[in-house]
């Protein structure tokens, strides 16, 4: 996401002019791991779901071109900054889907809340694991590893379940030309999103204050004594 953001005239959103929509990184890992599971099993289908304006269909089409079977677009021209409201809409759609495993990216790269997947899991009353760094399923059970601060934990749970996917689990494949052509014919259902009550609103968006400009104190190893002196006497961190 190496773009320079501008704040929109409203003061409570970013100016989306010229921004290109893409699949959030963590969702890419989730699509990839889902495809790998189906390929290993030799049976089953991968359904991709996205909530958002019509632009969300581009992201769904990308997942189809990676190999997903079909797509569901929950249409909402504006997306509230409210995880509970979004999770409510997703849970309503997923409730009767009969899925064995429901996967989310750990968080969206833009809103960076990381709450929706686990909320949906709770809303559906399913076993839920947030932030899987590894994930395997066998004989109706799931096994995951979650990374902690300075450690890790192993999690076992029965299926069906809801999981969210952390980084490092798999590199998402690039859609092949054949995949892109095939995706054009794959089913994409679009229907209105049934958002829950919106209780969180955006007062303002702002560019964070820059840190005070630092200084380059020298070149090469010769600058080390001056650095140590400054750390001791000026920054007082030694």
């Amino acid at each position: 996401m190496d773009v320079k953001f501008r704040i929109a005239a409203s003061g409570n959103a970013v100016d989306e002019t010229g921004l290109k929509w893409d699949m959030s990184d963590f969702d890419g890992y989730a699509v990839e791991i889902a495809l790998q599971m189906i390929e290993k099993l030799g049976t089953g289908e991968v359904v991709v779901i996205s909530l958002g304006p019509d632009a969300a269909q581009e992201v769904l089409r990308k997942a189809l071109s990676m190999g997903a079977t079909r797509a569901v677009h929950l249409k909402s021209d504006t997306v509230p900054f409210d995880s509970a409201a979004i999770a409510t809409a997703l849970a309503a759609e997923l409730k009767d889907g009969g899925y064995d495993l429901i996967m989310f990216g750990k968080m969206a790269i833009d809103s960076a809340s990381g709450a929706i997947g686990a909320m949906v899991g709770e809303m559906l009353g399913l076993p839920t694991v947030h932030g899987c760094a590894t994930l395997e399923v066998a004989n109706g059970k799931g096994f995951a590893r979650r990374e902690l601060e300075g450690g890790a934990e192993e999690v076992t749970f029965p299926l069906p379940a809801v999981v969210t996917i952390d980084e490092g689990i798999a590199r998402p494949r690039y859609p092949s030309l054949k995949g892109i052509m095939a995706a054009k014919k794959k089913p994409m259902e679009s229907k209105p999103a049934q958002l829950g009550a919106v209780r969180v609103t955006v007062d303002a968006m702002a560019l964070p204050a820059e840190r005070a400009a630092g200084r380059i104190i020298g070149e090469g190893a010769a600058a080390v004594p001056e650095l140590v002196r400054l750390l001791q006497t000026e920054a007082k961190v030694l």
Partner: protein, 329 residues
């Protein structure tokens, strides 16, 4: 007056620093409501001993839940326990956003039918609403969010290091919080695996972080970073996303918007160019030092002190200088 509830995380018998940060944040918010700060302290037998430390950080009441099934992280039973307590008229439930807190907070919110504010860096009361700041778009934009009070409490997860654990001593009252069901009868079973090196300082706790990037050229050259960290004696080792993606370091070491967000007293960036994704994870550090061969690297824009030079020359010299300085005492 409505009170504020928080959750204290205990791992391997130790109270986590994030729990004291959350207790302090709860104290400040409770004062804004004219209410009390309450904390849920759950774990294996003996966990109640941590109540005093929470009282030192402003907790009026500790609801202690000791059970063998809480010795390991138990997301299903724990979220039920917290949600049940939260139904007693609290204004807000604050949960420190550690790996476990990020798992727990949305579960509690969904159980309560509550709205959630996630990864919050500042929090205040504004009449009936809560107003919070939260970094978005890989830290390039800061959103100010408003949660309008509904019938139940708001759930808030706090970014680690964003709130200062401040002493606000009071005599903590201890009450028992009994789980409503059998906490061992759960579907999601968790077992913590011992960390490779239990002496290793965690990024959230270390006063100094030495972090390495692609400029180190190869995984084995991370020894330079490890040696410098060892010279400081109180330093943890971090890495950029490029480095963890390439498998030079575990993903748990990644500092950045999508990894860990840190705020040590001193952050030393070795061979790191300063991609925005990385800066978003470390810009809150008190003092930043950058060592990089490219004088135009963006890392120098956020560094308090920069040295332009070859990391293979500068870092060993710095390691020796820090060792010598510490030897002097």
């Amino acid at each position: 007056m409505p009170s504020v509830l928080t959750y204290a995380e205990v791992r391997g018998g130790d109270l986590r620093k994030i729990s004291l940060e959350a207790a302090s944040a709860a104290r400040a918010l409770a004062d804004a409501y004219g209410g009390e700060a309450h904390v849920i302290l759950s774990g294996g037998p003996g966990v109640g001993a941590h109540a005093g430390a929470l009282g030192e950080h402003g907790a009026d009441v500790a609801f202690v839940s000791e059970h063998a099934a809480f010795a390991q992280y138990n997301p299903e039973a724990l979220s039920a326990l917290v949600a049940e307590r939260a139904r007693n008229g609290y204004a807000a439930v604050l949960i420190g956003g550690s790996a476990r807190g990020k798992d727990l907070a949305p579960r509690v919110a969904a159980k309560l039918g509550a709205a959630i504010l996630s990864d919050v860096t500042a929090l205040a009361r504004d009449g009936d609403a809560l107003v919070a700041t939260h970094p978005v778009y890989t830290g390039k934009v800061t959103a100010t969010l408003r949660l309008t009070a509904g019938s139940g409490p708001a759930v808030v997860s706090l970014r680690p290091g964003a709130f200062t654990a401040a002493p606000a001593p009071r005599t903590v009252r201890i009450e028992t919080a009994a789980p409503s069901g059998d906490p061992s009868a759960v579907r999601v079973q968790v077992k913590e695996t011992p960390s490779v090196d239990s002496r290793k300082l965690d990024l959230a706790e270390a006063p100094v972080i030495v972090s390495g990037g692609r400029g180190l050229k190869a995984a084995e050259n991370f020894k330079l970073v490890e040696d410098l960290a060892a010279a400081f004696g109180n330093a943890a080792v971090g890495a950029t996303r490029a480095v963890t993606d390439d498998g030079w370091r575990p993903h748990s070491d990644q500092i950045g918007q999508t990894g860990r967000q840190v705020s040590p007293a001193l952050y030393v960036a070795v061979g790191i160019s300063g991609a925005i994704q990385h800066i978003a994870g470390m810009r809150a550090s008190r003092c930043i030092v950058a060592i990089n061969k490219d004088a135009e690297a963006p890392i120098f824009k956020v560094a308090d002190y920069g040295i332009v030079g070859d990391v293979f020359e500068v870092v060993p010299a710095l390691t020796a200088a820090i060792r010598a300085q510490r030897a002097k005492g």
